[in-house]
C-alpha cells in the first residue's frame, strides 16, 4: 500500500507544481521542475510560488493526519482529531487578536508566531486542567479540550464583533485556512518541525497498538502509560500548532485521512501511521490544488474543500458507529 500512496503523492506534487491560476504549458512546468531549460517566468512560478506552497501543504497534511491518527488511538475514540486539544481554536484566537491589534502587517512572522503561542498555551491549559496527581484520564482531557476549545471559539467571535470590516475579512480568510502566499521561508521553519514531530510519533506505533487494548492492559505489559501519553500529546500539539500557524485552521484532514486509510491498511499503527504521513500529504496537496482551480483564476480557501469532503464523511461515520453499537 505504501508504494501506491507514495506514487499518489508524487503525482500530487507534480500536479500541484504544474497547475494553478496562471495557465502554463505542462511541458514547460515539467522541464522547470526537473531542472531542464524553461522560460524564466515558468521557472519562477513553479519554483518560487508553487513548490513552496505544495511542500508546506504536504507537510501540514502529514502533520494533521499523523496527529489525528495518534489522538484517535490515544483517546480510543474515532471522533478525535487534532482540534480536540483546543489547539486549532487557540491558534485561531491568537491570530484574530493579532489581526485586531494590527500586528499582521508588522512582519511575515508576527501572525503565525502569535497563533503558535495561542495554540501551545491552549494545549497546555487543557492538559493542566485534565491532570490530577500525575494522571491524565483521556475522557477528562477530551471533555476539557472541547470545553476550552468552545471558550476560545466564543472569544474569537467576540474579537470579530469588535473588529473592523477589513479586519474581519482577513480573519475569516485566516480561519478558513489556506496556502496562498507560502514562501521558502515558511518551508524552512515549518516543514522541519512538522516532519520531525510526525516522525517522532511514528516511533510510538507499538505503544499505540498496545494502548488500543486499554490503559490497564498496557500497564500490565510494562508500557509507561502516562509518559507515553504526555510525549504523544506534546508532539501532536506541536505538529498541529506549527501547521495551523502557517496555514490557518484546516478542518477534517486529521479526522478524514486516518479513517480512510484505516479502512485500507487496517488498524495496526505500524502500517497506519506511515500511511497517514504520506496519504495526509497527498490529500492536502490535492485539496489545495482544488482550492486553486475551482474558481480559477481566483482561489477559495482550502478549509472549504476539506470540510466539504470531511463533513459528509464525518456524518457517515457517526451513523455507522451508531448502527454498530446497536442503535
Amino acid at each position: 500500500m505504501l508504494p501506491i500512496l507514495a506514487a499518489v503523492l508524487a503525482v500530487a506534487v507534480w500536479l500541484g507544481a504544474s497547475l494553478g491560476s496562471a495557465p502554463l504549458p505542462l511541458g514547460q512546468t515539467l522541464a522547470a521542475l526537473v531542472g531542464q531549460p524553461a522560460p524564466a517566468l515558468v521557472r519562477d512560478i513553479v519554483w518560487n510560488l508553487r513548490l513552496p506552497r505544495v511542500i508546506v501543504a504536504g507537510a501540514v497534511g502529514t502533520g494533521l493526519a499523523v496527529a489525528g491518527c495518534v489522538l484517535q488511538g490515544l483517546f480510543r475514540n474515532p471522533m478525535a482529531d487534532p482540534g480536540v486539544l483546543g489547539v486549532s481554536a487557540g491558534a485561531g484566537l491568537g491570530a484574530v487578536i493579532a489581526i485586531y491589534a494590527g500586528l499582521g502587517a508588522v512582519s511575515l512572522w508576527t501572525l503565525p508566531g502569535i497563533a503558535f503561542v495561542g495554540a501551545l498555551l491552549t494545549a497546555a491549559t487543557v492538559y493542566g486542567l485534565a491532570t490530577r496527581a500525575g494522571r491524565t484520564p483521556v475522557l477528562t482531557l477530551l471533555l476539557g479540550g472541547i470545553a476550552v476549545g468552545s471558550l476560545m471559539t466564543s472569544a474569537i467571535g467576540l474579537v470579530m464583533i469588535l473588529a473592523q470590516e477589513v479586519q474581519i475579512q482577513t480573519m475569516v480568510l485566516w480561519l478558513m485556512g489556506g496556502f496562498d502566499g507560502e514562501t521558502w521561508q515558511q518551508v524552512g521553519v515549518a516543514v522541519p518541525l512538522v516532519l520531525a514531530g510526525s516522525a517522532a510519533c511514528l516511533l510510538f506505533a507499538r505503544e499505540l497498538n498496545i494502548l488500543a487494548t486499554g490503559e490497564d492492559a498496557a500497564r500490565g505489559v510494562g508500557v509507561p502509560v502516562e509518559w507515553t501519553k504526555r510525549i504523544l500529546l506534546a508532539l501532536c500539539a506541536l505538529v498541529t500548532a506549527v501547521g495551523v500557524s502557517v496555514s490557518g485552521t484546516i478542518g477534517f484532514v486529521g479526522l478524514l485521512v486516518p479513517h480512510m486509510l484505516r479502512l485500507v491498511v487496517g488498524p495496526d499503527h505500524r502500517r497506519l501511521l506511515p500511511a497517514c504521513a504520506i496519504g495526509g500529504a497527498a490529500f492536502l496537496i490535492l485539496a489545495d490544488l482544488g482550492a486553486r482551480l475551482v474558481i480559477r483564476p481566483a482561489e477559495i480557501s482550502v478549509g472549504v474543500i476539506t470540510s466539504f469532503l470531511g463533513v459528509p464523511f464525518f456524518l457517515y461515520l457517526l451513523r455507522r458507529q451508531r448502527a454498530g453499537v446497536g442503535g
Partner: protein
C-alpha cells in the same frame, strides 16, 4: 526536553524575524533618472531599475491614479476587478482590455510580467514577499485617511513611474477643485450629516469619508458622538444622532428607501425631510485624485442653492 528546546528555538526565530532591522537607504532625489530608489510607506526601500512599462495595480486607489492620467493606458497591464465597474471606479471607461485581477494572487500578477506593482497594507503579506522574491519592485501604501495621504501616494507613484511633473499637476488640480468648492461654501452654514453604509457602519475622525463630508459643507455627527475610525452601529444609534442628512451607498439596491420607511428612523430630521442621499461607492470610498470630484458631487447635493441645481 528536546521538544521544548525546539519550541524555544522557533520562538527565538520568530522574534528575530520580527525585529529584523530595515536597511537605511537614501532616496534618489532625481525624478526621471532610473534606476531610482523609493522608500515606501512601510519603510522598505524599493529599487526600480528602469522606467516601468508593465505596471500592475492591486488597489482601487492606485487603479484610478494610474488610469486617471498618470501614465498612458498601454503601460498598465493589470488592475483590480473593481476598476471597470462604474459604481466603484472613476476610470471604468479607461480599463479597456487591461487584465482585471480577481484577487491579489502572486501567480496571476507574475504571469503579467510586471516591472512595478502597487499594493496596499491589506494585500496578503505573503504575496508581497513572493513578488519581491521574484525580483519585482513592489510599492506598498499603508495609510488612506486624509487628502494628505492621497496626495503623498500620487507623488510617490509619479516618481516611481517617471512622471513626477504629471503627479504634481494632478495634485495641483485636486487642490484647485477643493479650493473652488471651499470658496463656494464660504459663509454657507454646514448641514449635520451622518454617513451610514448599507452594511451598518459609520465613519468618524481620521477617515476619508469624514473629510469628504466636511469638505462638502457638512458636519459629521459621528464625530460629535465621539466615533473615531469606523464602527458598526445599530439603527437606534443612527436615530439618536439626529442627523439632518443621511448619506448612504448604493451597493444594496433599495437600501435608502428602506431607511426612509423604517419606523425606528421616523423621527430623524433627515428622514422626515427626505434628506437621504444614496451615492455609489466610487464617491464614498474614493482614495485617489477623484476625491476632489466626489467632494463636488456631495457638496452639490447638500447645497443645491449654492451649486445652481
Amino acid at each position: 526536553m528536546g521538544r521544548f528546546m525546539g519550541v524555544a528555538a522557533i520562538l527565538l526565530l520568530l522574534l528575530t524575524a520580527c525585529g529584523r532591522a530595515q536597511p537605511a537607504v537614501h532616496p534618489n532625489r532625481s525624478a526621471s533618472a532610473f534606476p531610482l530608489t523609493i522608500i515606501d510607506d512601510t519603510g522598505r526601500s524599493v529599487t526600480i531599475p528602469h522606467q516601468p512599462q508593465r505596471i500592475v495595480s492591486v488597489t482601487e486607489g492606485t487603479d484610478e491614479i494610474l488610469l486617471g492620467g498618470l501614465v498612458p493606458r498601454s503601460r498598465v497591464v493589470g488592475v483590480t476587478k473593481y476598476a471597470a465597474d462604474p459604481a466603484e471606479s472613476w476610470v471604468a471607461g479607461d480599463v479597456g482590455s487591461i487584465t482585471q485581477l480577481s484577487t491579489a494572487n502572486a501567480e496571476q500578477i507574475l504571469a503579467l510580467k510586471p516591472d512595478l506593482v502597487f499594493v496596499a497594507s491589506y494585500t496578503t503579506p505573503g504575496v508581497v514577499t513572493q513578488l519581491e522574491g521574484s525580483g519585482v519592485p513592489v510599492i506598498e501604501f499603508t495609510s488612506f485617511s486624509s487628502v494628505a495621504d492621497i496626495q503623498s501616494h500620487i507623488l510617490t507613484m509619479g516618481r516611481a513611474v517617471g512622471n513626477l511633473a504629471g503627479a504634481h499637476a494632478m495634485v495641483a488640480k485636486m487642490n484647485q477643485q477643493l479650493a473652488a468648492v471651499a470658496a463656494k461654501l464660504k459663509g454657507v452654514p454646514p448641514v449635520h450629516l451622518l454617513y451610514y453604509t448599507s452594511d451598518g457602519y459609520v465613519f468618524g475622525k481620521g477617515t476619508t469619508p469624514d473629510q469628504l463630508v466636511t469638505d462638502a459643507g457638512g458636519v459629521n455627527v459621528a464625530d460629535a458622538a465621539g466615533i473615531t475610525s469606523w464602527k458598526q452601529v445599530t439603527l437606534g444609534t443612527v436615530a439618536s444622532l439626529q442627523p439632518d442628512w443621511l448619506l448612504t451607498d448604493t451597493s444594496q439596491p433599495g437600501f435608502a428607501t428602506k431607511l426612509m420607511k423604517n419606523p425606528v428612523l421616523a423621527a430623524v430630521p433627515a428622514v422626515a425631510a427626505h434628506h437621504v442621499l444614496a451615492l455609489p461607492d466610487r464617491d464614498l470610498s474614493v482614495v485617489s485624485q477623484y476625491f476632489a470630484q466626489a467632494v463636488q458631487v456631495v457638496a452639490a447635493d447638500l447645497h443645491p442653492g449654492v451649486f445652481g441645481h
